[in-house]
Symmetry: D3
Subunit: 293 residues, 6 copies
């Protein structure tokens, strides 16, 4: 069974709320390269694993970590959809260079979820379990997991390239570090099962200030981790040592989202007074007024 | 962030492994009435909730409980796919009355997952986030959750009706009790937000030996639960008191699946020696041999 | 069986044709909160209902009303895609503040349907029956219907917030009134089945000039409505009386869409002469010409 | 807008209820060759049609007829899922020759809908608007409609081949006759738009006793039909005259489904007393009991 | 089996790279009117054809041609995503008139594929085999193919209308010519099977400089084509003669895509040096810098 | 562009036609582990590749080979659906042990395709491009391809385990050999890009008589293969030499399917005379007759 811890796995900080970037982040939640894919891929692989307990435990532990990454990213999306500081949102959203290139916001961030993340990709296509590779034997599964982290890491690097928000860049560096660790732990498990396999060092795009988390197994469970596993105490493909953090550290804050603007119709309890509303939609009405002859 | 606890939320016991029933259970994992739907529905509603913290906490806590229900059900599916006691499997599977009515096993339980649960419904249709209702305001969300538990509870009652396996019947009684509690907690939250709303007692199909869990909030988080909430200390629609269990109890065992039969091609490490193999497919070969002229 | 009446359920008027808003309206046609969902949800629930005829009749009658709402909304989309008055379209579409916030038009409104509505949501994701909840018992179905109307009403309120077009605001007020009625009729049916259930008044976002339609059952069938039903003659949750209109009134016009511009390639019969073409695409060519060095 | 008429378009009679055949019929409801496809294809083509009113009217009229065909088929599915005469159901379902060839029942007919039709195909794949061709110009749309009727008619002929139930064979003959008419009316409209086009007679698989309905336009609307249209008064491709029935005839009964068996959990109001229950699942329990050692 | 030839079926030339138009072209690759649909529709119809070999050969030959059209279009998408000449890209992308009308780029062209085509439509909805009509008898299949080419040709005409790029207009003229040929060859096959069927001339939107390819069967196989088939040597519906090209001509170049910009993270081997990078995303960063206070 | 060669890549031989096994083979065509996935994955990766030509060529060549595998498998499905020798089909289909375990035939093999393969998996779920991993950089793509072959090879091994038909076992051995080669060629390309990477020998499940094809690159194109590539002339992970076959050999026959039985309604041209019809459905009618009282 599972428990939720009030603090996030990482401290989400959004310096320049940008709903367009919030849309882009959806790809990392609900796209084929996203956290819902790896979370469910590892969960179902782990729940069905019939071999040595160590692989099952590793799969379930990292599946559990990935749920926390959904949480981190959904919080980041929600914070990017917040109106404050609203002037800056206006700059970002209305600059035609930026908005035209990024093709605008996801309308369902307003229409469907009222300023919150959705279980979908950057185009609003709903998550589907068709993205999952769960079917091979253990080695095939591990190869599928290496691939999933590789495409996920590439996505994170591209997302980081799209933003100058320091908080968002930092978050993506952290996620890149964790993706790197995960990719290496799956490679190490393949090596453990077949010692003739020698994985090359993962080609890391600079993981920012989080190099330390690129070689550390996060144990999201209360089982002891195996002492003799490569991925807990052994040597990573790049020659550096793997270490283990148990329990996995809660590096983040307790998320506190701002009240929703009145125009969200999210219910009286979650809605800011009308006068302080700086939501996306309220501004649209003014704009429409201005262009009415 | 999240943590995984080694023990299940409920002790899964399969007395008469039945791969056909394993297929039926998939509906409760990956169908529109299943646990993946409610887990993700509550998770995304909770992560985006901007109102009073108590509703966010409640949504995330129950979302966390539902991940554990996926775990319980996936374990039950895997155990139903196991060969032991193999003679009985033969009886169940080959009895034309049973097999014809139930339309047989899910071929992807062998072809795709090698004797494990899949993220799909009883027909093998992959889970999709299109099942989720996440879009309303808080009250609309709560109504959607009442509905999701109502259809889920009906499904569980129907599944219980399809089996005579005492372990499976008991598991479904437990899940019915929890669905009942969840439905009532969402109704209580609606009532709290609008005291004029008075929910009628939920029409419970007998929840077996688990009546005590039909009125108890399971706190799957380390936040204190609100003292003054109806669903933690108040009165349920049927007049009985709500209570709270914090932390949520781990009522189950540490799951230990049997090694996979050799014909699973799951990898040497997870595979039983050939002579003890009692898998579904091995038997098919024999049968095919018999009918070859 | 069914009959089509030449007049719409509501008089659609578009004062400022806006293809971007036309895209937004798609969410109310083909999204999980839209009319195709409720129409099919009530239709399949009704066709399979085996209990008292009154619930079956109510479900089928309201399913029939919802087909008419698809018609109203598809007409509104088509009218928003029309070029006239074309100068205003230019203002709306080219104002970067508006267009950037709303992320532009749906390209398939031109590419696929030639200036007409599509069976898809605001992101072009095709309608799927996975949105439907049809599986519970009658009470579970009714709860699912309450939820569907609640999220639908929230969507309509958000759509109304996005536009200043008086015709479109009025149409959404009418649809909100009908959603309110439908939500209350399902609640009333739950109460009828279980008199201990007391629904609170629905939290209505102002339904504009259509308060009278928020408490009136529209009988879209030739069966007599039950005299003794709460939803036909009883008291609504807010204390006001329910009334019944039989037959359901045809409040709208016979829709007459403008001929398609030449660039639609919709066929000579439906295409305006080239000189009067004011379509979206024709303008793009000019714009592209201007930016060609 | 639309109205529902209490009587069916055709009198559904099921002589030998057969849940396996009920599953097969689903293909004609929710598959790519089914009624939900043509209903929505014609509806969206019609609602977006900007050319001469006569084509719009024809499209909407036939779309309306197709909703009634969904109704007919859903009623037929529900009646095939009924237990009576239960002894015969047992014969059909448990005969291994039949059941093995037909691959059994659709489990969601019990698990999800409680003995009712679902919006899905014979494999339980949910209906999707991806099946629709709505995008061409009027002539392209008409070709797409010819194709849709052609594949639909082939499906109906195959379904008729699978059953010996006189009622079901008759229903499929009626639907084949209507498909033939629809295919010819689309061909006639192409010819009207381009008189050089001469469609060959449609290759009809014998339409049983319903030859008269294979050349008659059913006007499901209160608009006068065009006097000068080929499909109302002209000559069909096979040289026979087209005629028109306005209003479209209600050839069927008011459907009355049997109460659901107790094991459906459909709610007390729609459930037969336990002693008379002859449902599919109840029998399974007995069978399982018999094979328990 | 199949072979790949190094040269394209058509010489792709992009004069003004335009990522927005690249998005639009996706509809012709992965949408319901696109090449993946017809390629797979003809492939599965052909592989399952049990009648005279000539229809099977024709279906497989044209299926093979359509794979090459996917190749042509994917090359065109990739070339439209290239940065050169970058100044012009800026004009196109940042002109609010153009960008607002066309609703911007497809974010997954960067996030998912790193400046390459995706197997999806213009909204990023993944291709699904649900688009295919493969089920009728041979005549029904041929009607479905006529319809598929008709909607595909309409899409191509609309796409051509959206661009002033001479290369792109020319490519679409070529594809329209081939669609016209394909539509006529399916009509001719229907006529061959039923000589009473006389198809009217296809209403061709001007196929530019490629009229010669609108009446020529391309044999993409090493089987002799039937001498006596209408579509190889007979008369087309417009009275012009059909001819045959065997082997099908390779009218295009060997595609050479530019190296990807550094920001693509496509790997060092496929990435241009940083100084020459003119990619879409790099520019976004600058823009974001400019609007940072 | 592409060409089709009349002979298959492999000689398909079905000794005991078995429609149930035909259903199972669908997983290898349209499932997430199937040939449509790898064909499209390699095709889109190749068409978008911007790096050294050798990787693009390799991707497109193997994509082309995979189209031929779809052809081989679709032929195998069609031959398994054929009635001859019909007596044996009866044994297989009607033996309850076999049929119950394998859950029967795919009804759409009759209803939708008339005894032919469909673009779907073993449960009839349509192929979707959501299965594809196309997004990483070149190394990530190669890892995704290693994974795709690994799960595909596992599926083939499981399918081979399910049948005793010598022809089918042999075909699956051939496909396993090719999957092994493909997996090794992707691993070799990773090694070429990063010489520190040393792949372990692929764990081969016995590839039957086709060991020679497990180390041979099939060049499905007319480009010269690179002399210095590991996968053409180097050493495989198991120490054996890679060789190259150019052109790729056509090892199979020209497929000739039997005429369809009359009950297929596939059209007179493809239908056997009624008296010789031994189709699946015809037998069902007899069976139904027998059980009619």
């Amino acid at each position: 069974m599972f428990f939720h811890h009030k603090e996030l796995a990482y401290t989400v900080r959004v310096d320049k709320p940008n709903p367009v970037f919030g849309r882009m982040l959806q790809q990392a939640i609900g796209g084929p390269e996203g956290e819902m894919r790896v979370m469910n891929q590892y969960l179902f692989q782990g729940l069905g694993a019939r071999g040595p307990k160590r692989y099952r435990d590793m799969l379930l532990s990292t599946a559990t970590e990935e749920i926390g990454h959904i949480e981190v990213l959904a919080t980041a999306v929600a914070m990017n959809l917040e109106g404050a500081p609203s002037a800056m949102v206006d700059d970002v959203v209305t600059n035609p260079l930026v908005s035209a290139r990024m093709s605008g916001i996801e309308p369902r961030h307003y229409l469907t979820s009222g300023y919150a993340a959705t279980p979908a990709d950057a185009n609003g296509v709903p998550f589907t379990a068709a993205y999952l590779d769960i079917g091979g034997n253990m080695v095939a599964n591990l190869h599928a997991n290496v691939a999933a982290e590789a495409v996920g890491r590439t996505l994170a690097a591209r997302l980081r390239e799209m933003t100058d928000d320091p908080g968002m860049k930092d978050m993506l560096s952290f996620l890149i570090a964790r993706d790197t660790m995960h990719q290496m732990q799956w490679l190490a498990a393949i090596e453990e099962l077949n010692p003739q396999h020698k994985a090359a060092p993962v080609e890391v795009e600079d993981e920012g200030d989080y190099e330390q988390y690129a070689h550390q197994f996060f144990a999201h469970h209360d089982e002891p981790v195996p002492e003799d596993a490569i991925w807990t105490n052994g040597t990573a493909p790049d020659g550096k040592p793997f270490t283990t953090a148990q329990p996995a550290p809660a590096l983040g804050q307790m998320p506190e989202l701002q009240p929703a603007p009145m125009d969200s119709f999210n219910g009286p309890e979650s809605t800011a007074p009308a006068e302080s509303s700086g939501g996306v939609v309220g501004k649209v009405k003014d704009a429409v007024d201005q262009i009415t002859p």
